[in-house]
Amino acid sequence: MPAGLLSIKLRCASWQQLATIYKRDLSRGSMFLRASAPPPIGTAVRIDLALPSASVIVLTGTVAQHRTDPQRGSGVELELAPIPSQTIWLIESALEAESKRRQTPATGVATGGAPGGGATGELPAIGQGEDLVAAEDELIKALLAEAESLKKLNPFLVLGVGYEASDADVRAAFGELTKRYHPDRFARYESAELRQVAAEIFILIRDAYRKLSAETGRAQALAALGRAPAPRAVPLRAPTPPPVAVPPPRPAARQPTASIPPAPSTIPETIAIPKLRVPEPNDTSSAASNAGSSETPTARPSQPLPIPPEAQRTQPPRASTPGRSGALPTVPIPSPPSSSQGIPRVPPRTPSQGIPRVPPRTPSQGVPRVGSDPAPRASTSQPLPRTSSSQPLPRLDAPSTDHRPVLATPPPVLTEASDGNPIDQLLEQGKFDEAILAAKVMAKKFPSDRTYRAAVEVCEGLRYLALRDRLEAAQRFESALEIDPSNERAARELADMRRQATNERKGLLTRLMGKKE
């Protein structure tokens, strides 16, 4: 931008204010700003308008006139450059959503145009008590949404650590989460339901911590995800043939994945379903998910009970089955990440699912299940095979009928480790538009591969995030997940956004209560 560009940052404290600005100023293509020292006419101006939702709209214009507004004092009149329709659409949809949410006609605002720069409070002042209750309810909803997100993630994502995290990293991540989500932090609120939901979330977090706090645990979890620990061998990627028709672009193209997590190899969870049948793959997952019981070193030898079911207490390695890794070998293709394109898992799945194993597809197809809706599972879960087992207890933990707050093991999503993935690189460099284009190109090339379409959505979502438009970004990530439920990046971004939302709710609630947060 040419020197002399004046950069102004404005903030809308409320939707009402935005509506006012929109109707009064933007629709006319001009805007009045108070200024004690008006810049010369013709100065180029850039306005960063931050919305209540923390998204930012960028407007450009030039100083057209110095004038004195009867209500607001002296200042300048800006002539705005044509506002991109996208921005207009954004503002309108945001206002609409807001008005629906409030169930009061947002248009009411138009009449109250007077406020000008007046920043109304963030919530209508209906009275302290109602505010608190409403805020508590919002926080509960936010927490429930977060719990849902967390359940979909693998332990590394739950804690927010990389796959090569060290003990200290894991502890630090856990410490941060503890400070935010430990039930003690919610003890100050009245609602018992709130504290209960907080406890649920924390249970998910601490189970992830238990799994990952030691090197051995991390190795197991990685194995469960189908990744080799430490050396993320790029070569392994190479083969990934899955897309039968589409051989190669794998290495480079395929891995745009950072955002496009290759199909979640296995839905161990799905493996979970036919658990009875396939004891091994379950071992690790159930044992791992059984954080609660297998947590301490205190070894309790299984009691010689008339009751066979010993299963859970022991660490995975114990049974004959090596757990996931056991499943892997069946895969013709070298395992980890890419291969995880679901190929490996195919074998186990087939019997249970009877899903046409289309190599590339498989994972994604399997994936929907991951979303964890009871229905499909229930249908596929076999009645406990009496015959099957002398093997006492199928560590059946994932209940088929799922309304209990279960330690559901999240779908192992393979991701990351994207070295040399061009789309990822573009994303990292912040060249979102190019990334989107590249992803679209890939999508066109492999029309049957959902992951690319999902990647497009993810890239767009990331771009919106960069524009601080959370509403849009969230929508994009959600649609990415709909297209390809195994997309780890989208799940993670969504979880992060929900986390942020929860924090905001919590901050608001705490401020209402007059405490510091």
């Binding site: 503890t178 003890a187 601490r206 301490t296 070193p297 309790r300 008339p306 009751i307 009496r386 330690l407």
Partner: protein, 552 residues
């Protein structure tokens, strides 16, 4: 909302603290300027209750109606070993309630330890209200980490009777670590052990402190081992000596026992610093001929050590087990913190040094540090401070009975709270129609030695050969040690749940009765003499003035 106070309800002494204006925990002293209140309660024949130093002084003359060490009785059964010992030497009667709980009998009236403790809590609350000059209704009460759920719940009930809203029950070693560490929230992870040897209980907790996160890795202890046991050895020795030389059994003379107890406790305290001291008790009792026994004896530190060697040895096993549970060796620890009056004893400190290989730290006042920690935690719960978080664990295994005496663990000890654990079980008989699941808490593999928490029955099981019907048991425990248990039959999905909050030993009705009875009586709680011999007596509900009656 009123401020939340932190209460250390100790076996021998209780203390109360709160966060001051700058967010620092500070102990509170009432108008009598005492920072700690002896955990003593005395009843006059007319029913007036005295608490604290006054009660302790009254103990000499009305020994049978003065209760001390009630923490050893709260939540416990009368047939426990240490309770029996306690009963033998205590000047007041210890009796069994209908459910087997240990109660006391004063002036012919059975009184629950919850009620006794509630008097102490009320007194402590009054101290706080005097110091803060504002009403106090909410508190955090500390208990030994090794207390089981029955003991914890009984402590809560005591608070309830005292009219307090017990926001949380906090473990003493964790509270102490918080008080110690609150000032040093520097980066870097520190592994510490908290060695808490109080009047009646022993706790050892291994913790990791990093960036304000206090994570308990393992905890162990002995909830029937404390300074009182050291006293008891000396008391027993002297009782034997007096019997040998004068043929008088002092245990039948409450006043003599009371004097002797106090003398032995003072001697022990003196011997922490000196090598020898003298116990002098003139006119302790009369021998069979009617001649007075003037007891005088030199007591040395070595003698006490010789008498208590086995007690010292009992300190070691819980420490080793806790280290093992935490997966650490003594060398991994950076510091050992001492808490509790008895930790002042030289031989105890030597034992700590030998177990952990380093000299223990004695920075803070071991008598007040727990209350300070409780106050700091109260601040965290109230939202007044955000710089620390406590991650505590459950101290005992929780499981169910299998077979006659088998104990199958579902939720292992040292699990970080909140936690969810599950385990599968199968039927033992063909076509079994229902399964009765009894929950126990304890560390013995023999279920009869563990404490029963509750029961849940799952009925209408589908028929099938033994072992084919599988029931999944899920136990969820939250930070307040409230447990919810769900049993689910896998084939049909049939399930049943129960929330278990172990009874505090008194039914709700009994609690309400006690509170009502209290309302009607006015109790003299350490009355302050005013001018003209008038005394202002305040209970929660009334303010009454009555002539002082000092001589009680």
């Amino acid at each position: 909302m009123s401020r939340i106070i932190g209460i250390d309800l100790g076996t021998s002494n209780s203390c109360v603290a709160v966060l001051d204006g700058k967010g620092q925990p500070t102990t509170l002293a009432g108008l009598d300027n005492e920072r700690t209140t002896p955990s003593w309660v005395s009843w006059s024949s007319s029913g007036q209750v005295t608490v604290g130093t006054r009660a302790k002084r009254q103990a000499v003359t009305s020994a049978a109606a003065t209760v001390y060490g009630v923490k050893r009785l709260i939540g416990r059964k009368v047939n426990a070993d240490d309770v029996s010992w306690f009963a033998r030497l205590a000047p007041f009667r210890i009796v069994a309630a209908p459910n087997g709980d240990a109660w006391v009998r004063i002036h012919g009236q059975p009184i629950s330890p919850q009620e006794v403790a509630s008097h102490i809590l009320r007194r402590v609350r009054q101290v706080a209200e005097e110091a803060l000059d504002e009403p106090v209704t909410r508190c955090v009460i500390t208990v030994p980490a090794y207390f089981d759920d029955a003991q914890r719940q009984a402590t809560r009930v005591a608070g309830q009777i005292a009219g307090l809203d017990v926001v949380r029950i906090l473990n003493e070693p964790t509270a102490a670590a918080l008080a110690y560490g609150a000032h040093r929230v520097t980066g870097g992870r520190r592994l510490v052990a908290v060695f808490d040897l109080g009047g009646g209980t022993f706790d050892i907790s291994i913790m990791s402190v990093e960036n304000g996160i206090f994570e308990v890795l393992a905890t162990g202890g002995d909830s029937a081992l404390g300074g009182d046991d050291w006293d008891r050895r000396l008391i027993e020795r002297i009782v034997d000596e007096v019997f040998d030389s004068h043929r008088v059994d002092l245990t039948g003379i409450p006043m003599a026992m009371s004097r002797l107890r106090e003398a032995c406790e003072n001697a022990k305290k003196a011997l922490s610093a000196d090598r020898e001291t003298v116990i002098q008790l003139p006119f302790l009792a009369n021998d069979p001929h009617g001649a007075p026994i003037n007891f005088e004896r030199v007591v040395t530190r070595d003698q006490i050590d010789a008498l208590t060697k086995d007690l010292l040895d009992r300190l070691e096993a819980p420490c080793r087990r806790a280290l093992e549970d935490a997966g650490l060796t003594a060398g991994d620890l950076e510091e050992v913190l001492l808490v509790g009056g008895m930790s002042r004893w030289p031989a105890v400190q030597a034992m700590v040094e030998s177990i952990f290989g380093r000299k223990p730290s004695k920075g803070a006042n071991p008598d007040e540090v727990v209350a300070l920690g409780a106050a700091a935690y109260a601040g965290i719960l109230a939202g007044d401070s955000n710089d620390a978080a406590l991650l505590d664990v459950t101290p005992h295994d929780i499981g169910i009975r299998v077979g006659d005496t088998g104990f199958a663990v579902v939720l292992p000890r040292n699990s970080m709270l909140p936690v969810r654990a599950r385990r599968l079980f199968a039927t033992t008989h063909d076509d079994q129609k229902f399964v009765s699941i009894e929950l126990y808490q304890g560390d013995s593999s023999d279920v009869t030695e563990n404490r029963k928490l509750g029961q849940v029955v799952l009925e209408d099981l589908p028929p099938g050969p033994a072992g084919s019907t599988r029931v999944e048991l899920v136990i969820t425990m939250d930070v307040e040690s409230i447990m919810s248990v769900t049993a689910r039959e896998l084939r049909t999905g049939l399930e049943t749940s129960v929330t278990i909050r172990p009874s505090g030993g008194l039914s709700q009705r009994e609690i309400v009765e006690i509170i009502n009875r209290r309302r009607q009586e006015t109790s003299v709680v350490s009355p302050l003499p005013m001018e003209g011999g008038m005394v202002r007596v305040t209970t929660r509900e009334h303010a009454v003035t009555r002539p002082s009656d000092e001589k009680k």
